[in-house]
């Protein structure tokens, strides 16, 4: 870089336009010794964009020692808090390399420097800092002591627990420092007994954190304190007590947990307001609180709470916990939901099906069968899915009837319901319910075939293919020749069962000549798993198909066969087919490159070099990945020109591959590209690549 260009960059850094300054910061990598100083100066830039760019460049710099020095020095800039905070951010980004300098800075006479050094150490989470942070719990400044406690919490070292416990339980200490210590102990999953936390439990500010610690305690007195806390005046403390009690229960022995649950129930029955509070907060609290409250209300086991918990579960984020809580209530939930069913909102009925499935009681089974005719599709699908777990052979006629109804309903898109019914029928037939269920199901489905619509036949094909019944086999022949391509495709896919077909059955081979491309694609997929001697001949035929999607499927199947092949002539032929496909149109060539990448080895990389001549970015990226994984030095050399490719994603991929493979010869072309690169993402890739290659 000549002097004039340096002057331009310096000038731009002083520009009133923040974008000009940011671009100047980006170009600062081209400068040498002067660059660091200028970058650190920009940490105090009024624009956050410029500060962020400066942080990124400093973090990416290979001169870590020097960077650490200047950043630590920037912590003492008392006049500019923005610059100091940006320096902390950059130090955290630099990671472990700056820890020694931060430890030095933590001994500074300047309280702000000590505090910021601790903040940076907290972000880096390096265990080498633990000893110094423990010392700093005795710092004369309470902010530093609090920050040190926070940092020990994030660093996560058990050796810190005694010192933090001492700080947390010291009555003379400032409350905010004690709070930091208590929270750090919670983060470290520390165990303290109730007596030690007595004074903290008496302080409204510290009580929630103290309760959280009691939830981890095995001290019998802890549970008593938490039970008492359920009736406290402070809502945050009550909620902390609830959460802590749930934690205690999760850890307790079954008998102990049972006793504790009884105590909670007695307390609520005695008129505690905690249940009412929990119900109110269930509607308005944050997600994390709602999750706790649902579990707590489920714990109370009262029938009156079943519906509120169910309704709360309509929120997708709460559904799993709500169903879990209701499932744990067992018969009470089953009976209540069955009775309340007619009045349940639509969305809640679907969730109720999940709960009923878990209860496995006779009422649940009956209700789920009735729900198959629910006006709400979501509820019907939920009932169908629930029956997959609990349905017996008695459910089969109702499910097949529903299959016919859904298949013949032109009013709505029944795909999801039909698929769910197919899966449930399969689950019931493949379950340990005896051959009679299989035969009964086979009869029911075969009887439906003559009048079934297309979607219904698709599901029938799915199910019949899995049934070991003679009638099912006969019907599969018909479905493989069905007028609907969707049905034929499903029937072909159904041939792909475990274990892999021993030979390519005739019906499968003829599917390779189907008039529907989708059927041919499915057949190629199945053929990939066949060990028949004619497979490669058939796939070679398919690789000349008129439809590119079919050719791509054939190529993927060839790659799968090659992966299975022990070596020799079969593998060689697969490589030849994949190599030929590299010359084909986009989707086919991409399948070939991905196939070669999956096969691995130098041969794959060498063959893939042909794809570097392609114009399609997606193929180029895939080829670069393949060569990056398997190529030798000669192959990697061929990638170098692509760091300046016109397509940004190709430049980025090529740069990344060269960096990952440590190709030092790539540094000059990458540096040349950096001087003109305008794309932010590619610039960041280049900077990381240079840091890796030069470091």
């Amino acid at each position: 870089m000549d002097l004039r260009e340096r002057d331009v960059i310096r000038e731009d850094l002083r520009s009133p336009d923040e974008e000009v300054r940011r671009l100047a910061v980006e170009r600062l990598a081209a400068l040498d010794s002067e660059a660091l100083e200028l970058l650190v100066a920009r940490l105090g830039d009024p624009s956050w964009r410029v500060r962020k760019a400066a942080v990124a460049r400093l973090v990416a710099s290979p001169r870590s020692e020097l960077v650490a020095e200047v950043l630590v020095a920037a912590l003492s800039d008392g006049d500019d808090p923005g610059r100091r905070n940006a320096a902390v951010e950059a130090l955290v980004g630099c990671g472990a390399t700056v820890v020694p300098r931060l430890l030095e800075a933590s001994k500074s006479g300047d309280v702000d420097v000590r505090k910021l050094a601790v903040d940076a150490l907290a972000g880096i989470r390096d265990v080498r800092a633990v000893a110094r942070l423990l010392e700093m719990l005795g710092d004369p400044d309470p902010n530093v002591r609090g920050a040190a406690a926070d940092a020990l919490g994030t660093t996560g070292h058990v050796a810190s627990v005694p010192a933090l416990a001492a700080l947390a339980t010291r009555d003379a200490e400032q409350p905010l420092v004690r709070l930091s210590a208590l929270r750090a102990l919670v983060q470290l999953d520390a165990v303290l007994d109730a007596a030690a936390l007595d004074s903290a439990c008496g302080d409204p500010l510290l009580r929630p954190a103290a309760f959280a610690l009691l939830g981890r305690s095995e001290d019998a007195a802890a549970a008593e304190v938490l039970l008492k806390g359920l009736g406290g005046a402070s809502r945050s403390a009550r909620e902390a007590a609830i959460e802590a009690l749930l934690r205690s229960l999760a850890r307790a022995e079954p008998s102990g947990a049972e006793r504790l649950v009884e105590r909670v129930r007695e307390l609520v029955a005695a008129g505690s307001r905690v249940e009412q509070d929990a119900l109110e907060r269930l509607a308005e609290g944050e997600l994390s609180l709602q999750l706790v409250l649902i579990q707590f209300l489920g714990l109370l086991g009262r029938r009156e709470l079943v519906v509120p918990i169910l309704l709360a579960g309509r929120d997708e984020a709460l559904a799993e916990v709500a169903t879990g809580a209701l499932e744990a209530m067992g018969g009470a939930a089953e009976e209540t939901l069955d009775e309340a069913w007619p009045g349940l909102p639509v969305a809640a009925r679907a969730l109720a099906c999940r709960v009923l499935a878990a209860s496995r009681g006779p009422r649940a089974h009956r209700r789920l069968l009735q729900a198959l005719d629910d006006p709400d599709p979501e509820c019907r699908v939920a009932a169908v899915r629930a029956l997959a777990g609990v349905g017996s052979a008695e459910a089969l006629p109702a499910l097949v009837r529903r299959l016919a109804a859904a298949g013949g309903d032109p009013e709505w898109d029944a795909d999801g319901e039909l698929e769910a019914i197919g899966s449930t029928l399969l689950a019931i037939a493949s379950g340990a319910r005896g051959a009679s269920a299989t035969a009964a199901l086979s009869d029911l489905l075969v009887a439906r075939l003559p009048s079934a619509g297309e979607e219904e036949r698709v599901q029938i094909a799915r199910v019949l293919a899995r049934l070991e019944a003679p009638e099912a086999r006969v019907s599969m022949d018909l479905l493989l020749a069905d007028p609907s391509p969707a049905v034929r495709r499903t029937a072909v896919e159904a041939l792909a069962r475990e274990p892999a077909p021993a030979g390519a059955p005739e019906s499968l081979r003829i599917a390779l000549a189907d008039e529907s491309a989708l059927v041919r694609i499915a057949a190629a997929g199945v053929l990939a798993r066949s060990d028949a001697p004619t497979v490669l001949d058939d796939l070679a035929c398919l690789a000349r198909d008129e439809d590119a999607r079919v050719r791509a499927a054939a190529v993927r199947a060839v790659a799968a066969r090659a992966a299975e092949a022990a070596g020799g002539a079969v593998r060689e032929r697969c490589f030849a087919l994949l190599g030929a496909a590299l010359e084909d149109e986009g989707a086919v060539a991409l399948a070939a490159v991905e196939g070669l990448a999956g096969l691995g080895g130098g041969e794959s990389a060498r063959r893939t070099l042909v794809a570097l001549e392609r114009g399609d970015a997606e193929i180029l990226r895939a080829a670069l990945r393949c060569i990056g994984l398997h190529g030798d030095a000669e192959c990697l050399e061929r990638i170098l020109p692509l760091v300046s490719h016109r397509e940004w994603s190709v430049r980025a991929e090529a740069t990344q591959v060269l960096a990952e493979r440590g190709v030092a010869r790539a540094i000059p072309p990458i540096l040349r590209r950096l001087e003109t690169e305008q794309d932010d993402f590619v610039r960041s890739v280049i900077l990381r690549a240079l840091a890796r290659l030069e470091g």
Binding site: L449, P450, V474, S475, D477, L478, L480, A481, D482, P483, E506, S507, R509, I510, L512, A513, D514, E515, T534, D537, D538, C541, R544, E546, D547
Partner: protein, 291 residues
Amino acid sequence: MFSDLLRDHCGLWFSPDLRYLLEKRVASRVRQLGVGSFAAYHYLLRHAATGDEELAQLVDEVTTNETYFLRERNQLSALLHEILPELAARRRTPGPLQIWCAGCSTGEEPYSIVLLALEAGLHPGRDFRLYASDIDRTVLRRARAGVYRAASFREMERRLQAQYFVEKDGAWRISDEVKRHVCFAHMNLLKPSRAGLLGPLDVILCRNVIIYFDLESKRRVIGTFAEKLRPGGYLLLGHSESLIQLSSAFQLRHLRSDLVYRKPGLDEPRDAWHALAREAASSFGPEEDAA
């Protein structure tokens, strides 16, 4: 120019006196697509990304698919009562004989073979496997559906129709008992790679198909058949078709019911097959007179 395009693609040949038919059908596609002119449509066929798909559509439009059940019944009878027994007796490897109906149109021919085989007491699937192909996807769809109008039954006895078809709303649906024995495929006879999927064959029926091809295409198709047939295998053409000037790979054979072509066996004395066929016919399934 459309005639040349179709000939190169699938061998279909429109002689000058039939060009008006082609023009009519191309004009229909031009109108349906709204491309404005024959030239624009020709450009679309040759150069557009959807050209191959449209060419297949045009083939669907211009192919002739007139057929019916039990058409040229003498020949079908010869197949079942003379050819299959002879081949079965000569067969050295286990497994069903392989039959290919090349140009099956809407399925009447392959279904007729299965139906007659069932009547003759044979076991389709065990005794023979039947493949049926056509280049026209529309007719294949109809063949797979297996639903027919009265015109398809002009040569079929009421008894057979009642036994193997179910009537609904004025149409007859073929029974699953027949339907499940036919494997349909989409094939262009001028592009033999897909035929490779069928494996070696014992009998090929290609009746009333190559009459629509030009001479060169006919030769190519017959060459493919000669390659696909096992030595001693049979080629059944339509009654108005012959291999004169087309191929010397086959011998013309006179059976009781019909004339057929046969690919010579590898090491059997010429003409010894006929005595063999007669002998086999007497021990293979019930025989009935050709109607």
